[in-house]
Symmetry: C2
Subunit: 151 residues, 2 copies
DNA sequence: CTATCTGTAATCTGCATAATTACAGATAAG
DNA sequence: CTTATCTGTAATTATGCAGATTACAGATAG
């Protein structure tokens, strides 16, 4: 997948942690990318209510009330991020052969299925979980919300 | 992910369906790619016992005894395919800030978790399932093996 | 009114992926 | 033994996409 999901998650975690409005420049510095890219990503989180954006001198991206409780699935949905996908499709739908004509759509279905599965998993981890995980000392990730689960 | 997984699956389904040795040229024609690429992918399925390769005039890639029962997870494993991954990592491990220094590894952990989840799902679909799905008339994919499951 | 910030578009650059070409080695047929 | 056919693999080229960079209009607080 592209990096938008990582940028958005990183930014939300940062904003949630510091608990104040943060400019795209400060976020870019922390994430290690450029401010324009941050703004491009963050702008799509606003309609989803994940952050508030404020123009002007003391503006930036500000934490919303329920931010900590929002899940990583909310982030992925807001961005339309595809967790599992393929840019390439095999076969040719116009071919007589059912294998050649059918495999493209079939594999697409497999990817859709896996993507939905991942999305359900991400729905179990909140922004708050990530913040706590980050400051718990342990290096392992996403265990907080997924602990005890094996599927 | 890259297209190797799709090419390999398509090729195995084709070989399984026709039930005889198939040359890289015939596979490439059906998959819609070039023979060299097919050979490059197929060569890595041989050590995993997913197909047999034979040089010479009547050679090609031949179905093995248990091919139909092998799962898509076997294919992914043979190729080292990563279902969920990101080429980009946010933050900087050398930074003082725990958010900046920790987010990269944390997200990597999330991706590892999702990837393992997908792998377990693929372990529930066999090459034979795909062949049957392809000739069942229904367009939806991977439902045969995943029917009734919702997680 | 001005400084600062977001939203967004346009362009450039670099990298990953796939196509193409080529050839050495293996194998079956005659 | 010779030949035709096929795999395995490397080298090169082409292409598309992701991310960086630059620029600027619009909004807002002081």
């Amino acid at each position: 997948m592209n990096s938008e999901f990582a940028i958005a998650t990183h930014a939300l975690v940062y904003v949630s942690h510091v608990g104040r409005c943060v400019s795209s420049e400060e976020l870019a510095e922390n994430i290690c990318t450029n401010p324009a890219r941050v703004r491009k990503v963050m702008a799509r989180l606003v309609p989803a209510g994940l952050v508030e954006s404020r123009a002007g001198a003391v503006g930036g991206y500000c934490p919303t009330a329920g931010l900590d409780a929002r899940t990583l699935a909310d982030v992925a949905d807001a961005l339309g991020t595809r967790l599992v996908s393929a840019s390439w499709s095999s076969g040719d739908v116009d071919r007589e052969c059912q294998v050649s004509s059918g495999m493209g759509a079939l594999m697409q279905g497999v990817y859709d299925d896996l993507d939905a599965l991942c999305r359900r998993r991400l729905a179990q981890t909140t922004v708050g979980d990530v913040v706590r995980e980050l400051f718990s000392g342990r290096g392992a990730a996403a265990k907080g919300a997924a602990a005890g689960r094996d599927d």
